[in-house]
Amino acid sequence: MSTASDTHGAAAVAEHGDGHGHVHHSPHLAHHFDSPEQQFMSAKLGMWVFLGTEVLMFGGLFCAYSVYRRAHPQVFEFAAHDYLSTKLGALNTIILITSSLTMAWGVRCAQLTQLKGLKICLVLTLMGAAGFLVVKTIEYTNKWHEHVWVGPSNRYYVARPPITYASLPPRTILPDNSADANAGTADAAQIRPVASGAGGLNSNYANPPETVFKEKDLTYDQLAPADQKNVATFFSIYFLMTGLHGIHVVVGMGLITWILIRANKGEFSSEFFTPVDLVGLYWHLVDLIWIFLFPLLYLIK
């Protein structure tokens, strides 16, 4: 992080009488740090902690993925095979890994004050990011055309019967535990018995959907009726995960552009390259998340 505002500027430094005796220091040293090394260490630690938070955030989605995959494996098998292109996913993976390489190279250039190399690497990284987004757009457009978009516009989306107050059983203030409140209602047929045994999160384990396995790839008709209603969820998870990742790629492009602009102004050198380092860390995380996304969504069949 570079200089703080002038509220604590050079005049204040002079009147501080700092213990280290000299007033002259790098313009990038913020006044509340003792030394550039301490400032750099702070920046790195702060960035790593922030990346930890990003991992936790995506972790929630990965958790949702695992829960649904475990509950509806056939759905995932069918939808991933029929609608996700392994080739495009692999292309994206290669593009992102290469952009991570150019980014790391750029950080190294900054460390060695090779400004031309830095700018070239940043531009290449940007191109990689743009390429990733292009491939993503192709994929998303395909999904749109095949009517497997997110939410109700998905061809597999099954509308839920509306719950009205009239359809609910009458409410008593003190619950009458003698009878099952749901007995005889329209919903009773849809309510599965609770799994009570070695079961697990939900009743799917007590009553797993029956799906016939075939040698060839699974088709929609081969899915159990219960599973057929769940196909739209796969696409929801797919779009949420890749969408959130895509947003992070766009943010990353913004950050890299900002660094490129500052590099053009000549701000970076072996004395000060912290922003390049930190944006590099961010970009590597974005890449890392994709490296997990790709096999989980595209490869596991």
């Binding site: 992080m1 703080a4 505002s5 509220t7 604590h8 204040a12 501080h16 009488g17 213990g19 280290h20 913020a30 006044h31 509340h32 740090f33 003792d34 301490q38 702070s42 630690l45 702060g46 902690v49 922030f50 930890g52 938070t53 991992v55 936790l56 955030m57 995506f58 972790g59 929630g60 989605l61 949702a64 829960v67 649904y68 509950a71 509806h72 759905v75 997110v150 939410g151 989306y157 099954v158 839920r160 019967p161 203030i173 003190l174 045994g197 070695a198 079961g199 697990g200 999160l201 939900n202 599973d227 209603k229 769940n230 739209a232 969820t233 929801s236 998870i237 779009f239 949420l240 959130l244």
Partner: protein
């Protein structure tokens, strides 16, 4: 900024550092609104947080009093011939907004954002936090997130305002309020609830980032900006509390962020994550939500416990008992707190095996909290106790936290939780730990650091009276709720069977009494700001570094980093007078008690 003294033995702080009055202090240094809004000074940021957080506390409190007023009669709509559906919907809005505003906009930010920002860098002898601009960003993000909530509030109020005056179908901004409860459970929040869910959850999402960035800032500051000689185990315990809090903030809050995004996605785009009809699972929402919200309650209490460690020590003139135990227990609470979220879900249909595991681990998380309480009482033992206002709140904390913590065990035990779930017993339990404990620690800390932050002394007797009124009001408000809960009174109900009315009446009386007490507190502070006596640098005789600078501190905190000492070596100070407060002891310090003897350091 290198240290100026060797540290083999405690040396008294150099007089020149703090007796020299600065030309101006941080409050007067820069003038103008812009210098506040764009400040990078952690102290000013703390003050700005203080104003906003306390305003939200007032709003949340008004909702609480409205709720309690409605509950005075068991059949309020019928009794006053009000439209039943309107009244019940309004009630739902009230308790939802009360909870959401208090949790997200008051309790979670209060101590870290206010006292953490104001005091943490000074306690480290540093000039600022590690990332001052990120700190300012946290503040702005908090303001933006709070605005979303105000928008929802406005929508709810306008909607019911219009409806009550005969225009129920006016199309309004703000989504017509929020009635899901602060827990936003799916499927109600994702389908049929009022539309205020979307702006409210987005508001909570934004405020969450304020929390995360503050956590990043504090962790880095505590790792990197500790002065020479202040090892981790020479740090004041308040900072250990903030460190543990920051760890939870960075690990748990992102999970809330993604949960809220999923609620918004489900609500707007109808993705089916929580919809059972298309393969989703509403219990998954509960898992995600409580995975954050249980650690969140430790975000609320750990800074409070840190404040109490400071107060108990200084006002019993004794070294804290069991420093290492208290420090480690903060970390233990932070880590164990991530393993117990399922105890909010005992009746959600999860398997008995899962229930038992969560129940068992919940009992283990009580242990570090108890360790702290025992260490505090051991600190009090044979101390020279002075019943100043901060100490009254600290003592109240110990009592009320004990009650709250013990009743938590009833709820953590699987078999007793099942009949108590969603009753007023739960409401009473969490108010004892959130309000009785956290709020008391907050008020204690505010009174303790008030002279330092503002340079003025508050009127002590008024503070003591107000503390008593708040304590009495609080217990009157919430103790009957334990009983009502065991008798079966459900929570979040606007109308209820007549047999519970007496409990509600006591509770409402207590709520109003507590409100009165809090208004006296507010008046106490406002009067002190205008007409309080000038505060000495060290009115209480503490030895943590913030007492080594003037009251209020100069904008640069310290010309030279003060010598780092054991933060609880109180013998370095002696009392002179009310005007001068405590000054460094220039004479030979009294012989320290032999190790193992647990006695007060009297002067």
């Amino acid at each position: 900024m290198s240290s100026t003294a060797e540290l083999e033995h405690a040396s008294p702080p150099a007089a020149a550092i703090y007796l020299t009055p600065p030309e101006d202090n941080y409050l007067t240094h820069d003038k103008g609104v812009m210098s506040w809004i764009f400040t990078l000074d952690h102290k000013r940021i703390g003050i700005l947080y203080m104003g906003t957080v306390l305003s939200f506390f007032l709003v949340g409190g008004i909702f609480a009093l409205s709720l309690r007023t409605e509950l005075l009669w068991y059949n309020t709509p019928d009794k006053f011939h009000l439209d039943k559906e309107l009244t019940l919907n309004l009630y739902n809005n009230m308790f939802t907004l009360h909870g959401a505003i208090m949790v997200f906009l008051f309790i979670i930010p209060a101590i870290p954002a206010i006292m953490g920002n104001l005091i943490l860098p000074i306690m480290l002898g540093a000039k600022d936090v590690a990332f001052p601009r990120l700190n300012l960003m946290s503040l702005w993000i908090y303001w933006i997130g709070g605005t979303f909530f105000l928008y929802v509030l406005l929508g709810g109020v306008l909607h019911y305002g219009f409806a009550m005056f005969g225009h129920p179908n006016v199309n309004l901004p703000g989504g017509m309020g929020l009635d899901t409860g602060w827990t936003f459970y799916a499927p109600y929040s994702t389908t049929k609830s009022l539309a205020g869910v979307v702006p409210a959850t987005l508001g909570a999402f934004v405020v969450g980032f304020s929390s995360i960035l503050t956590g990043v800032n504090f962790i880095t500051t505590l790792h990197i900006l500790r002065p020479k000689g202040m090892t981790w185990f020479r740090m004041p315990l308040f900072l250990w509390g903030l460190y543990a809090t920051s760890i939870i903030q960075i690990l748990a809050t992102p999970v809330l962020a993604i949960t809220l995004l999923l609620v918004v996605a489900e609500r707007t785009m109808h993705v089916g994550i929580f919809d059972p009809a298309i393969g989703g699972d509403p219990v998954l929402f509960q898992h995600f939500f409580w995975f954050y919200s249980h650690p969140a309650v430790y975000i609320m209490i750990l800074p409070a416990m840190g404040v109490i460690s400071e107060l108990i020590t200084v006002f019993s003139r004794k070294h804290i008992f069991g420093y290492n135990f208290i420090a480690f227990s903060s970390i233990a609470i932070a880590l164990l707190g991530f393993l117990v979220w399922g105890h909010h879900m005992f009746v959600s249909g999860q398997s008995p095996m899962t229930d038992s595991i969560f129940s068992f681990i919940t009992f283990s998380v009580a242990i570090p909290s108890a360790v702290k309480v025992f260490n505090w009482t051991a600190t009090l033992y044979r101390g020279s106790i002075r019943f100043k206002t901060p100490m009254l709140y600290a003592l109240g904390f110990i009592l009320l936290f004990t009650v709250g913590g013990l009743t938590g065990l009833f709820l953590g035990a699987l078999s007793t939780d099942v009949p108590l779930h969603d009753t007023y017993f739960v409401v009473a339990h969490f108010h004892y730990v959130m309000m009785g404990s956290m709020l008391f620690a907050f008020l204690g800390g505010m009174y303790y650091w008030f002279p330092k932050i503002f340079g003025k002394m508050y009127h002590e007797q008024t503070g003591q009276v107000a503390a008593l009124v708040v304590f009495l009001g609080f217990n009157l408000a919430f103790f009957p709720q334990f009983i009502a809960g065991t008798q079966g009174m459900p929570r979040r109900w606007a109308t209820y069977p007549e047999q519970y009315q007496i409990y509600h009446r006591f509770s409402t009386a207590g709520a109003y009494l507590m409100g009165l007490g809090l208004f006296i507190v507010a008046g106490n502070w406002i009067h002190a700001l205008k007409r309080g006596n000038k505060a000495p640098p060290n009115p209480w005789g503490g030895n943590t570094l913030e007492w080594h600078c003037t009251s209020p501190p100069p904008y640069y905190n310290f010309k030279k980093t003060p010598a780092v000492d054991d933060p609880y070596a109180l013998g370095a100070w002696e009392y002179v007078s009310e005007e001068q407060g405590w000054v460094p002891r220039h004479s030979e310090p009294p012989p320290l008690a032999p190790p193992g003897q647990n006695v007060a350091i009297t002067h």
